[in-house]
Symmetry: D2
Subunit: 372 residues, 4 copies
């Protein structure tokens, strides 16, 4: 399997660097006959687009996606869909610092250790800019799973979490147990630049993120994502488990350091009785009284909402100089000049949703392939 390819039947391959002419994704294995054009994908890119508030990087990228293949007369043909996004705002700057020494917390040293060589302009291939390609691919994946609603939000910034009852209400109302929503996002999420469903928390986060920004510092975040409408049966034990694939999908996003399904680490502190998800007959089939499992058992969807939590570390780019070494191994100090996100987790929300869509769409096809 290609290391820059993700998925089994619905697969995407991404290419491109932060400061090259363009980035892109090739989506292969898409079912034919789905209605698509650029306008279907663009809104997801717009949600991820930088420079929309003072809480994200000021790099100005229109992130206009072009479909170069795989679509004819407004429908997918079943052949590879090539998506391209031009890099526009590649500010010409002096990269001699980062060319010579390794930015701590970044992948600079690791890339050099692996390849003996790296494109140091803006992080090259390791830049979070690549996630735009995933979001574009995710826009295609969503077409494959119209039965599924995906909603992510920031649930914690700098250790400050949203209100627990808002969170529960959100999961229960928007996502519901075995109940499909109409797909409209939680209203308050549209009213703040944090994808935050709790207006009180959103206010507090303004100060937290702005303080970090002004101090040249950064903060971490936790993103939650719920997918409802996933039919029981998607998933593929034992090494194509739905939760394992989601774990890989999320852990592979830039700056992610932890992934939980359902109760995650909290489940390790429960007893078997507390963690049980009892079943009972419901109006439209089996229902569950709880969802500690996050909608997945034995690697297979149970029909409950699929719940994932993702931890983003604070942005490694900070203004405080850090000890590091040069390519020749000499001691030096480095701080990150230039534009960056004070909290990279915020713009992670559309990326997490995209990866959720891509994993689910792949498993829909995989399940259909084996089980008809």
């Amino acid at each position: 399997m290609s290391v820059n390819t993700f998925g089994r039947l619905l697969r995407f391959t991404t290419w491109g660097e932060s400061h090259g002419p363009a980035i892109g994704a090739v989506v292969d294995g898409c079912p034919p006959g789905l209605a698509i054009d650029e306008s279907v994908i663009q809104p997801f890119l717009d949600a991820r687009r930088p420079g929309q508030s003072k809480f994200t990087t000021q790099r100005q990228e229109p992130d206009q996606v072009r479909i170069l293949s795989g679509v004819f007369e407004g429908k997918t043909t079943g052949t590879p869909i090539s998506l391209m996004i031009e890099n526009v705002d590649q500010r010409s700057k002096d990269y001699s610092d980062v060319a010579k020494a390794y930015r701590p917390g970044h992948a600079d040293y690791a890339y050099d250790a692996k390849y003996g060589f790296r494109d140091y302009r803006g992080g090259g291939r390791s830049s979070a800019r690549e996630t735009a390609s995933r979001v574009a691919a995710g826009g295609v994946a969503r077409l494959v799973i119209p039965e599924v609603t995906i909603q992510a939000w920031v649930s914690e910034i700098g250790g400050d979490a949203i209100n627990g009852s808002v969170r529960r209400q959100l999961i229960e109302t928007v996502a519901g147990y075995n109940k499909l929503t109409d797909g409209s996002p939680w209203p308050t999420m549209q009213e703040n630049p944090f994808f935050c469903p709790d207006p009180e928390a959103a206010k507090r986060w303004e100060k937290i993120v702005d303080d970090a920004r002004l101090a040249g510092s950064s903060v971490g975040a936790v993103v939650e994502c719920v997918a409802t409408g996933v039919p029981a049966g998607w998933g593929a034990p034992l090494y194509g488990k739905l939760d394992a694939d989601l774990a890989a999908a999320m852990m592979g996003i830039n700056a992610v350091k932890g992934v939980e399904i359902g109760d995650g680490f909290a489940a390790a502190r429960l007893t078997g009785e507390q963690n049980a998800d009892p079943m009972h007959p419901g109006a439209n089939g089996p229902e569950f009284s709880a969802n500690h499992a996050g909608g997945i058992a034995g690697g297979i969807a149970t029909g409950q909402p699929v719940v994932v939590r993702v931890a983003f570390k604070p942005t490694s780019s900070i203004l405080t100089p850090q000890p590091t070494i040069t390519r020749e191994g000499e001691a030096t100090e480095l701080f990150t000049k230039g534009r960056h996100d004070p909290c990279v987790g915020i713009r992670g929300v559309p990326v997490v949703e995209a990866m959720m869509a891509l994993v689910l769409a792949d498993h829909k096809l995989l399940h259909r392939g084996q089980c008809g």
Copy 2:
């Protein structure tokens, strides 16, 4: 990619059910010329073997592994290594309860939803018994990476964690920063049935686990694993990232609900300064002043210890009856008779180590393939 196959260049495929005649793994892609026989693999299986204390299931399985292919004159030949473990203690019991209704928290309902059909004897394919195959395969993988030392331990049971300073000392001493150990395990881990490095915690856990056992209940656990000696450069961005592959490997283990690399979710609560891993020149190459990243940046090993934390939910098999439904959708109650682990995380330790070995061995070959 096969859904019961894991890995890219060093790959293993497992087969077998809890109550079939045998289980096994086929390991493909192993380098030739490595010294091997059953005695090299058996100790890892013995560590995972059930029935060794009252804190694990009383099913008695010798778990004797046989090598059926891929080895000649005591060395690997480069061809597939077929490993087989016979199922011996398949107690003939009455399965009519679990045949008719779904055990809550188990994969019964999900398997039926997927396949329309399931082997209900002891959980069939979804039984944790399959992990013996992974441990056997992991024994082969370790031969591929003699430069790496892998050590896992239980760091928390039922919410009761080991002493923080013991934990730090363990990581620093056994694993070390850029310092290889002689491979001997932390002494106290051998003196208790919990793979617990903290003797005080081990004492407390005796009561916690025994209470759960006597009450027919269960408790969760957190397992940590450190791999030292991993050279900077292993890993493969962007969809074959070392941390993403580890996340999939660990999340795919039975009962696992969360995975962290390095500081994991705690990193989401740090500032950029607190989370920095500054570098400086060392006697034998670059050294790091901290390892919040858990040894991986941009999906590539940095040369620091690779640190993973894994959350195991409490065993779903408990004696308290739980509401559930029959295959026909009628309400009923079910409790799990028979033998089970009161804390499935304990025997997860050798499994976590095996998956770590399998991921690292695969990435060693993958790196050598691309970068020479």
Copy 3:
């Protein structure tokens, strides 16, 4: 992808050497609910089994297949099906000759060059004995494609071909254009030990093969295979083309040196007009006036019979000593003692059929996955 694994959704992994304790295959991705037991697979192994006439090797192997997993209550469960065949007749003999020097025409030298090491007993992994595993896996694959009838035959031995009109009649009658047969094999094929549909040719081949056998020599063969009932649409351009997958499947069989689809090399000598396959409306959908293409266009099945021709070289094991070199690079001579097939292509018939079934079953699932 594992190098000892074939297929995408229906995949099989084989293991085992000529003189190890057993050989086997793990079939993954099989749809659930298919009726199966050993008796369904055994007839295909019996057809391939050695020692049934003087025209094949005298090694006596019962080739009894055991199903070790993936089946419950007589049906496939959707989990890996482990198939094992014990090696029974591993005559203890002196291997010092082949241990020291390379048998010309065999893979001995190549294996040593690759692995620095080889299991020299009976060819080890490179022995045609492995094809029994393919045949067993093919038995499972046939269950996945009940709509398809597969029939192979030997069409040429030692340059002596079957009667052209018999061949045409065979393809038209047994296979038919867009007409399914009842699956019964061409009668005369059961009446001779050559899978030969032409009784006149069968008589001539008796002498050809027996002469070769008595002279310690060997002859080559051409095997043809037709699959009818393949629905238009199976196949997957551009690098999962049905014909490309068939080419790989057939070329990977021991001793195969050429593969043709439809008219194959003869098509290179036709004009566009001669090679055309015009279409016209038929009673049950489109019909074709010819099938030069062998049922595949653009890598996708057209609904016509899929026709493949496979060239088997003469067995490399001959009694005439051949110049060769020792492992140390010294000149020596070697001839092959022991039991061998004077015409390895004969027993290739069930293997070719098995590979056809495995490719088609995989593509059925792949098509269903993408196109529903």
Copy 4:
């Protein structure tokens, strides 16, 4: 594995249709540090470029390749290399005929049967135009295997073969047994538009191809390809065999219907003695007295020249109307207007070379990964 992706470690994914804005390939897994820019790849595209003589299609495409990623400061970085070729000469024409009915011999009907839908402009995805992407990817692959020399030629057109002694001399001189050449192509091949090494045949072919062109007809061809310098040991039994991968690579090229390795079908007419490739000690290691096997035994390279023969059917686009059916299943007639190659095999030469390079480069990395 993606169906539009080829390879294991060095992999390429192609995208694009005949009449879309562009076509392209993403090459993943390339080793870092190889010197590259567009000028390294362009000559191979120029060799395949249409419109260079009256014997190929008159479509005028400059086929200028652009590298969009994966290269920095003139060297490969180890990240995906995105190659794009714009479609320039998409003549606006009336496609209503081919939109309504299926061109016989083309993939029109099969695409519709599969996807329910097709891009009918110029064949869409099934157009041989896609092979430009392969040739571009092959240009990258060649950089990975500097030790290998690859040379293809047309050995037969319309049943008229090159002189046998020229062919033997060519294989022996240019390719040599175990002797590397300096890479210069056989001189006469540059002096005719057929990649023909035999000046006499080239003269005869002028008439054959021109006659076909003037008659609105077409002829088939056989292309041969030899790779020298392939080290013994490349290849990977049993389902990643070098010859099986070559068979898939070649059979997947548009219009190819047959593939032979070494003597191919002719080997089926030899005795074991005639087909033997005896070995003897040579000045620089083992040498072979013959190469019936085409440089591959047991799926592994022997160090001899790798010899492949590929049959191209006559172009399906001819001016003689052929019976066919409409999308609604009504009888009609269709002939192919517009520009086409009277002998598609001629421009297949650079494509065959590219696929040879891609397979060999992949196996070099695969071998290095497993065997060091």
